[in-house]
Subunit: 81 residues, 2 copies
Amino acid sequence: MARAKVYITLKEGILDPQGKTVLRALKSLGYEEVGDVRVGKYMVLELDGDDKARLEERLGEMTERLLANPIIEDYQMEVEI
Amino acid sequence: MARAKVYITLKEGILDPQGKTVLRALKSLGYEEVGDVRVGKYMVLELDGDDKARLEERLGEMTERLLANPIIEDYQMEVEI
């Protein structure tokens, strides 16, 4: 059994209204040191198998097909056996 | 200028309907090796300052007060100067 983590963020240049809202809220609470906020997704998957290369390949496919929107999002992933 | 990353996940035992939906969708696409999926949030913040301990303390406060819901969510954070 392996555990995989996928981090999905909006690409540079894609507007992030959720991040802007969080930024404004933090400023209004007095956190003036915050310059920018980007909000993304973080997914943790349990995967059956122990061939790390194969799991990474399959996870990349899952991410491209379903988890992320590759047109507007970037992603990074980690598989721990 | 520092960059901070915050990873927010639902606590163990808290139902994750979004994760269950993703799991079902992956299975229906033929990814039978997926055993479980949990969906969380991933935030990247730009912070002004270079006192790492102080930034971590402030970021912990921001996370408890606004970014996460500590009743149902766990979080981890990293500050890179």
